[in-house]
Subunit: 240 residues, 2 copies
């Protein structure tokens, strides 16, 4: 499985993904699930993927091919709006899913994938979309400033309590890392290292990118501090 979370805040876009891929418990590997594209000064886009690796890899490969094709109409770096970027990704995902599905059907198996697409192009607003396996999508709004794919339930309570559009980027980084920390603790199929990125409002480039390895001291310290803070908070609550 996977856990990816994206925030659409007043100050910018915050993205976090894990990297664990497994086909059965004895076939575990690390694959990047976050893909960043930019034409500095013109646009910056982040895509995160969850689901069948055969589908997400093929879809991402086709998106890259389309960017390299000078005549292609399906380049996410040339599409005039973020909405059209989401439509390009959705239609490729849908095409790949149905191609793979027809092969899987013979084996009575299923494969699907979903994606989060977020970014901003010059002159347009920041936007973030969750793209379903069928290619349709929903968009983050001020009422719902975060989107999640994969194993999203363990890490949702902290986001529900902390994230709103006015949340600072520093607090947002803490919140998504703690949301991931809860997921890592409760679900074996989500694993380190993590990929983290920020696209600040109107920066039109990937403002920050960071890979957090399994031995990252900062993350381990934050994780331990959060465990202790939770236990202290728990001890201080009066029973009903």
């Amino acid at each position: 499985m996977t856990y990816c979370v994206g925030l659409l805040l007043d100050a910018g876009i915050v993205l976090l993904s894990d990297t664990r891929t497994n086909a059965g418990l004895d076939n575990i590997a690390t694959y990047r699930k976050m893909f960043l594209f930019e034409t500095p000064g013109e646009r910056a886009i982040g895509i995160m993927t969850a689901g069948s690796l055969s589908i997400t890899q093929t879809t991402m490969a086709r998106l890259s091919d389309a960017i390299d094709d000078p005549d292609g109409e399906k380049s996410i770096l040339r599409a005039p709006t973020m909405l059209q970027v989401a439509e390009i990704v959705g239609s490729m995902l849908s095409d790949v899913t149905s191609e793979v599905a027809s092969k899987m059907e013979r084996m009575s198996q299923k494969a699907t994938a979903s994606m989060i697409v977020a970014g901003q192009r010059k002159g347009g607003p920041m936007r973030m979309f969750l793209i379903y396996p069928e290619g349709n999508f929903i968009e983050a709004t001020a009422d719902t400033p975060f989107l999640q794919i994969g194993e999203h339930k363990y890490g949702k309570p902290i986001l529900d309590r902390v994230i709103e559009p006015g949340t600072s980027l520093a607090d947002a980084e803490k919140a998504v890392l703690l949301s991931m920390d809860s997921t890592l603790r409760s679900n074996l199929s989500v694993g380190m290292p993590l990929d983290f990125a920020i696209i600040e409002r109107d920066a039109l480039e990937i403002t920050r990118r960071r890979r957090i390895e399994a031995d990252d001291e900062g993350f381990a310290r934050m994780s331990a501090a959060w465990s202790e803070a939770l236990r202290n908070a728990f001890a201080e609550i009066d029973p009903t």
Copy 2:
């Protein structure tokens, strides 16, 4: 959906369930999902249910009928061990599931249910089982002192951090209520009122039973205090 959690601690058994049942979003009702049985001084048993109401109601009705039948061999109040109680419940659940399944198949629908069965009889240890729709089951142990059914993911991180066999009953009550609180906040299909029960070790009766209504002041106060404690804890954590 549903959220039920049971703890098997050194000091006793702690059970908590919600009561929301829905068949579509416009058909929401309150049904008890926790059923307590006792022969004071001889045995005390708690059963919690999740899944299709048609299956859980029929199973519970048959369990009650079997208790009332003086010749019945399937009375959970006469079975010589808790293991046999779990086997009785498992076999009834399995029978009802396959009866209903044969009807549902015609409509291409599926219905399943699972249960948590916990208790102690005189002279035996406290035991707690999670019974799957097929009737087979797993048992809580010192390594895994809690079992959950229904929407279990939102409320698992707090249990993972706090619950161990030596946890006091007062802390256990707080922990399951906070685990439920996270679930209520993040998932609409789980709803108040709540049913709470404690079977203390060797008490051989239901030591405590409590229904927590939607307007319960103690629960609201604890929920608000937990939200504030979480936000304070969050604010105090240094970013990585």
